[in-house]
């Protein structure tokens, strides 16, 4: 986030540690924080999850309504991803419509889900050209300690996994599970003083020069990437990040989402 302010002392300390390959919270450079997920957290939502990545915490809720499909995709449901960086979650978040930071996170999370073909959108069509399910994925940050990209990504995957299409409520037959085909998992890295670290905390983000998010699917293929912040990456760094991202994806799918 753009307005992180860290004292010069903390900044220097993080720099010194990273030169020795160390991090403030004792993690290795390529290590992610602990993930905790609770699905079905919100009874009023079609699917939901409360998710923690270290001290970063978010709630994801999915709501589905009936509506018209887009003209160019008459037989597929609609997906909308929205991130709310509510001021409750950080002194740096402001009230008001989503700013650039929130929009970037929402679009990167959305891109992962969409391009990773997470959902079989054709199964969210009721009557082609007339009526489809419009699905809102809303991500609320609750406690911000860095890397909302990956925290939100896991939360959305978990919420989708537990979601039911509310068909019966609208006289459209029986409820059925969301048609999830894939679980695209993202991994985010930042560069601090020339060193690449995975899953940055708030303090680490505040001294990072560049950020890279990579989303992968089950077979190890890439489905989305995003470079951010005012620094750069070398080709080798991108390759290295990719390997870690694939491993992280496998781990989240098996240990957090309990798939396959």
């Amino acid at each position: 986030m753009s307005k992180n302010i860290l004292s010069d002392i903390s900044r220097d300390f993080i720099y010194k540690l990273i030169e020795k390959g160390q991090r403030l919270d004792g993690r290795a450079k390529t290590e992610f924080r602990k993930v905790e997920v609770e699905t079905g957290y919100i009874g009023t939502a079609e699917g939901s999850a409360s998710v923690r990545l270290g001290n970063t915490r978010a709630v994801v809720g999915i709501k589905s309504i009936l509506g018209e499909p887009y003209a160019d995709t008459p037989d597929t449901g609609v997906l909308t991803t929205n991130v709310e960086l509510i001021p409750l979650a950080s002194e740096n978040f402001e009230s008001g419509p989503p700013g650039r930071d929130a929009i970037e996170i929402a679009r990167v999370v959305d891109r992962g889900i969409r391009e990773g073909k997470a959902i079989d959108l054709e199964k969210l069509c009721v009557t082609p050209g007339e009526e489809v399910w419009i699905n809102f994925i809303d991500i609320h940050a609750l406690d911000y300690d860095g890397n909302l990209f990956d925290c939100a990504n896991i939360g959305v995957n978990a919420a989708l996994k537990s979601a039911m299409v509310p068909a019966s409520q609208h006289d459209k037959g029986e409820d059925y599970p969301f048609p999830v085909k894939h679980y695209p998992i993202s991994a985010t890295f930042v560069k601090i003083s020339g060193h690449m670290v995975a899953d940055p905390t708030y303090d680490e983000e505040s001294v990072a020069s560049s950020r890279l998010t990579i989303a992968t699917v089950e077979n190890g293929n890439l489905c989305a990437m995003q470079k951010g912040l005012g620094g750069s990456f070398t080709r080798q760094e991108v390759d290295q990040a990719m390997e870690i991202a694939i491993e992280w994806g496998k781990k989240v799918r098996s240990e957090v989402l309990n798939i396959g």
């Binding site: 709630v59 709310e84 979650a89 406690d143 708030y202």
Partner: protein
């Protein structure tokens, strides 16, 4: 009140409500203090089907600047419903209802916070309704009160809140969604338990004077019960064991005020120099 018609029998032949509660019975309530790392103070509350999280930041520099008060802190409470908290998805952002609730909750806290200790600053209270089942403003006020104490904001007392109302001619406590939709009156109340002062009061529906008195008494009693739950939550967090101790810890906060005030003043001066 929704005023809509219904065939639902909200009060049965035994005088019990459709969820089995007695007229004067609260829904289950669970409060936890200090649930967030980033905020200066926080609380999580489950109250029947309501889930609310509250966070406090401040005293801190007041934004927007023109809101600054040279004599006291400004209390800026923001009540918000998550889009997925209700059965029909709510569009993100403040609607007129939530703006009104934010205003009256801000005003309720102005009465208990020692705002004069932190001139020119803002005390920001955020309440996020994650899941809603009627009575969310009382739940939000109750949770925010605990979050303020958790943040160490000096207060004369906590604020405790509960609603009562009328459903199929019976005065009942703590209405659920169906009772709110099809009932005849709802009256959210917020009080300062130690003095009984009323700091939040709304009513809509239809009540005779007599019914009003009964509703008021029911809600007031419940506020006192909720006060105990609020203190419990703080006690559990801070390891103090009885009322006296909570009082003491509140007093300790009050004593530390001069220090906090200095902090606030220094922060203010720094900011002046910067700008």
């Amino acid at each position: 009140m929704g005023g809509a018609k219904t065939d639902i029998k909200l009060i049965d032949e035994n005088g019990l409500r459709f969820d089995g509660r007695k007229p004067d019975e609260l829904r289950p309530i669970r409060i936890e203090a200090n649930v967030l790392k980033r905020a200066d103070g926080s609380a999580y509350l489950e109250w029947g089907g309501n889930k609310v999280i509250a966070a406090v930041y401040g005293p801190r520099e007041c934004h927007p600047r023109h809101m600054q008060d040279p004599l006291r802190a400004v209390v800026q409470a923001k009540y918000n419903m998550a889009s997925f908290s209700v059965s029909d998805r709510k569009r993100p952002g403040p609607d007129r209802r939530s703006q009104e609730i934010s205003k009256i909750i801000s005003e309720a806290f102005e009465h208990v916070i020692f705002t004069h200790l932190f001139p020119r600053t803002s005390i920001d209270v955020y309440m996020e309704v994650l899941q809603a089942d009627a009575g969310t403003r009382c739940a939000a006020l109750t949770a925010a009160s605990v979050a303020l104490a958790d943040a160490g904001i000096p207060m004369r007392d906590l604020v405790s809140s509960c609603a009562a109302g009328k459903v199929q001619d019976t005065i009942v406590l703590d209405l659920r969604k169906e009772e709110d939709n099809f009932g005849e009156a709802d009256m959210p109340l917020g009080i300062v338990p130690r003095t009984g002062e009323i700091v939040l009061l709304q009513m809509d529906g239809d009540l005779t004077l007599e019914e009003f008195n009964k509703t008021m008494s029911l809600a007031t009693e419940a506020c006192h019960k909720i006060y105990e739950l609020q203190k419990d939550a703080l006690r559990r967090k801070y390891g103090v064991t009885d009322d006296e101790d909570v009082q003491e810890s509140v007093d300790a906060v009050a004593e530390s005020v001069p220090d906090r005030q200095e902090e606030a003043e220094e922060a203010f001066e720094d900011e002046q120099e910067e700008s």
